[in-house]
Symmetry: C2
Subunit: 160 residues, 2 copies
């Protein structure tokens, strides 16, 4: 399974929550922890990282809190994941940093792995935070080979 760490998952939860309630100016770590049912230390840690990643802005001191640095439709899922888990890459080989792989000078599939990574990151670049707020509904259909493939559509009601 291609895995996204729990922390990145939580981060998506928090960002979605802030985006969904963007009428509220500031969100404190405490409130977000309560509302998302996540432990406060973890929430604090995540908000800190999202701040450092430039996805949130903060106000310190009493009556402080966090809010989105940009509009929900201008923040991609890829960015959120990149901030919390580093650049999206499936293997060390596929990052831009050299010297991590001892086979590097002669590795014949290095570029191919990059292609795979970029396919993933390209897909996640297109999913914006605002998309996560919309009541999208996922169904599956069968393609020519008989495999189940996803189909995304809108539903009329607001999901809870």
């Amino acid at each position: 399974m291609i895995r996204l760490g729990k922390l990145a998952d939580y981060g998506l939860v928090l960002m979605t929550h802030i985006a969904r309630n963007h009428d509220r100016l500031l969100h404190t770590a405490r409130d977000l922890a309560l509302e998302s049912r996540l432990p406060l230390p973890t929430v604090s840690k995540l908000l800190k990282e999202l701040l450092q990643g430039g996805l949130l802005v903060s106000h310190r001191g009493i009556k402080g809190g966090y809010s989105l640095a940009r509009k929900p439709r201008e923040i991609s899922v890829a960015e959120i994941i990149a901030v919390l888990e580093g650049p999206i890459a499936l293997t060390e080989c596929s990052t831009d940093i050299s010297g991590l792989c001892d086979l590097e000078p002669c590795c014949p599939i290095k570029n191919n792995q990059r292609i795979i990574s970029q396919a993933v990151s390209g897909a996640l670049d297109k999913v914006m935070l605002s998309d996560l707020n919309q009541p999208l509904h996922l169904t599956t259909i069968r393609n020519a080979r008989g495999n189940l493939v996803p189909a995304i559509g809108f539903v009329s009601g607001r999901m809870q």
Copy 2:
């Protein structure tokens, strides 16, 4: 970083190698280990799993070995990963198996997470094993927002 385990990475290496040399009828675990510079026990383990996943066929006994179950252009990277690491899903919530998440009955972003997972798996469904053999070349260009995005093109020479 969205991570693919080392073993799945190795698996891609092995599959690519077999696809590249599909003129050779059978590939023994020993040969593949030598050629890929991977430890034999690990290679054996992977080939076994790829066999059980229906991606390889095997011939037992002396003069035995493995070969592809289908043509390289009919095996997707998504399938290989799914065989080695289970169904592609970024979090437990996004698999089809219910009951893994205690927030499930009221989790407002469950479907959204599915969408994210499907974006990834949809992207990897389109990358076939045969694509990994082609001398594709990856470059980056800047998009409207000034971010680097991937661009894939063909190169004239065969890379080694």
